[in-house]
């Protein structure tokens, strides 16, 4: 009986933590904008002027991004710090991934505006959900406590379930939403069970810092007792996160959901959700449980190789471009896992691995947003024209659009002078530095197989005879801007990657 009472006896000892509001501003901006959108739109009888929702969302994304830059500068001067009683951190990786998510949010907002008009859907909720999802992603990337990580994960996931189903006129969209929900909920449950076991073994849910999982693991005497518990817990954590990043063999939801969800949402899922999930993987396992790395690194190794090989081979046999891109996003996840594997080695090569993961996440977020932006346009009204046939002759009909897509696809294939090449290069470099040559070679070979897929799309755009089916593809301003930004970023980073690599390196070393 006294056991049940004890938490109550402790209540007088609970002190509310000091909150550093300034460092929370990026989160608050997203939260505030989301609430304003949802509440404001619900209260105003006639709805807002067209475009205002998207403008507000984009403005919030930019503001949150800029605020994170400001925080970045403060970490340069004052070092990384923790907030709200060690629940959140402001450090290099969290800000870097946060900025990636904000970039993805901005691009998604630009594309979605045009998309919703074309599909004649009037829904401020979509933007509200985008903002909430981004908020959840930011929290995941910045969390220093498994509870907070879980909350971020759920905020992100629940928003995405609804987003995936948000095209009410397309039955595929609803199916995608339900499928995503079932498998997402399942994986969250796994993750949660893992959290519970890790908590049981270490007695805490805090990840780093004093009295955290990391310090608990360092005291091997304590943890050896619960080693089995711990290992099973970490395994379940990995399963849950592997679902979220779409690593093989936990990828089965990806093709269906990517294909069914409204195309701009797919782009957002592939960029922001993936970035957040990798941020969480980095925080919860790689950075917090280095003592246990001999147990989980082989798992990452296997995941990476399976993801690379299966992702790129299955991509080749698809005929629906959104499905192809889904599998290609799986194989990109494999590449990032190669970086994670390198990061797992710790020390200097570990830093290189973290930096390569961060770099890859950011460049891929922009790339994939751009790719799906083009795919949104090619989908035409009804969002259904995603077969390879729909791309046939695009080079003649819309040469600039086709060229932009070609740039994205070549970058995804890892062709030099694009950001994708530098990203792949840095991941492979990290793997070589960590002496994981086998994985480096397999990654390169997977890139070769993957290249085939991207070339297939390019070939049908430029080389195959016949005109694109259906109506002429129109390019509205917002989407055009998003594509333009993405192309510019892809090429600039491709030609002059130095500054961004350096930022990623800085971020990796500036760790709480």
């Amino acid at each position: 009986m006294h056991l049940l009472l004890s938490p109550m006896q402790q209540t007088d000892k609970l002190i509310s933590p000091s909150v550093n509001w300034g460092s929370l501003t990026p989160l608050l901006v997203l939260l505030g904008a989301g609430l304003v959108l949802l509440v404001g739109a619900a209260l105003s009888a006639r709805g807002w002027a067209k475009g205002l929702y998207a403008t507000l969302t984009a403005a919030a994304a930019v503001a949150a991004g800029v605020l994170q830059f400001v925080l970045w500068n403060s970490t340069v001067h004052h070092g990384p710090k923790s907030l709200v009683g060690e629940a959140l951190v402001v450090d290099g990786p969290s800000l870097f991934i946060g900025i990636s998510i904000c970039a993805a949010l901005l691009l998604a907002a630009l594309v979605t505006d045009d998309y919703l008009r074309r599909e004649d859907i009037d829904s401020p909720e979509v933007y509200g959900l985008y903002l909430m999802a981004a908020l959840g992603g930011l929290v995941m990337a910045a969390s220093n406590d498994l509870i907070v990580l879980f909350l971020g994960l759920e905020v992100l996931s629940i928003a995405l379930y609804v987003l995936a189903a948000s095209h009410r006129k397309r039955i595929e969209s609803q199916e995608a939403g339900l499928k995503y929900f079932i498998l997402g909920g399942f994986s969250s449950a796994f993750f949660l069970y893992g959290v519970a076991l890790v908590y049981g073994a270490t007695g805490t849910t805090r990840l780093r810092g004093p009295e955290s999982i990391k310090t608990a693991l360092a005291l091997t005497v304590e943890t050896d007792k619960h080693r089995a518990l711990l290992v099973v817990g970490v395994a379940l954590l990995l399963v849950g996160l592997a679902f979220k990043v779409a690593a093989v063999p936990f990828h089965s939801w990806t093709p269906d959901v990517y294909q069914g969800a409204p195309t701009p949402v797919t782009g957002f899922m592939a960029s922001a959700a993936k970035a957040a999930a990798f941020g969480a993987l980095l925080r919860s396992v790689v950075l917090s449980m280095p003592e246990l790395r001999d147990d989980w690194r082989p798992a990452i190794w296997v995941l990476a190789i399976l993801t690379l090989v299966i992702g790129s081979t299955l991509a080749v046999v698809q005929t629906n471009v959104k499905r192809m891109l889904a599998y290609s996003s799986i194989s990109h996840a494999g590449f990032i896992l190669v970086g994670i594997e390198a990061a797992a080695h710790g020390g200097e090569s570990g830093d290189r691995g973290i930096a390569s993961v961060l770099f890859y996440v950011l460049t891929y977020a922009v790339l994939v947003s751009g790719t799906f932006a083009v795919s949104t346009l090619v989908g035409r009204s009804g969002d259904g024209a995603h077969g390879l046939d729909s791309y046939r002759g695009l080079g003649r009909q819309r040469p600039v659009l086709a060229l932009a897509l070609a740039v994205f696809l070549l970058a995804q294939a890892g062709v030099p002078l694009t950001s994708g090449f530098v990203a792949k290069f840095s991941v492979i470099t990290a793997a070589a530095d960590a002496s994981s040559y086998a994985i480096a070679i397999i990654a390169m070979l997977a890139a070769v197989i993957g290249a085939f897929l991207y070339l297939r799309i390019i070939v049908s755009m430029f080389l195959e005879d016949g005109d694109a089916e259906g109506e002429r593809v129109s390019i509205p301003f917002g989407t055009g801007a998003a594509i333009g930004i993405s192309v510019a970023f892809t090429l600039v980073v491709g030609f002059f990657p130095g500054w961004l690599l350096e930022l990623a390196r800085d971020a990796a070393t500036r760790l709480y």
Binding site: L14, L151, N320
Partner: protein, 100 residues
């Protein structure tokens, strides 16, 4: 010490839940199975919290899980309803618009 029994109960619930998700084709039943897993987590968390001398972390976490689970069920049922309205069926294996 009751801890092991609690953990065992949690593990059994977890296993039943996983079985339910994998084997059931009715979306609502799958949803309930996920709930079962979440509740097994709660039992685990409380048991561990007790073991750790009534550590508030575990209790807090369990409260959060209950809240999140409620939110999840809300969204999940809404999605099921949406699909049901269109298809007049909530069997998961009949969701076959997409193939590849």
């Amino acid at each position: 010490m009751l801890l092991n029994q609690f953990l065992l109960l949690g593990a059994i619930l977890f296993a039943i839940g996983v079985y339910g998700v994998v084997a059931r084709r009715n979306a609502v039943l799958v949803l309930m199975s996920i709930e079962l897993i979440l509740n097994s987590v709660n039992i685990n968390l409380l048991a561990f919290a007790l073991r750790n001398g009534g550590d508030p972390t575990g209790h807090t976490f369990a409260l959060y899980v209950i809240a999140v689970a409620a939110a999840e069920v809300g969204v999940g049922l809404a999605l099921v309803l949406l699909v049901y309205r269109n298809r007049r069926s909530i069997a998961l294996d009949e969701l076959s618009e997409m193939k590849g």
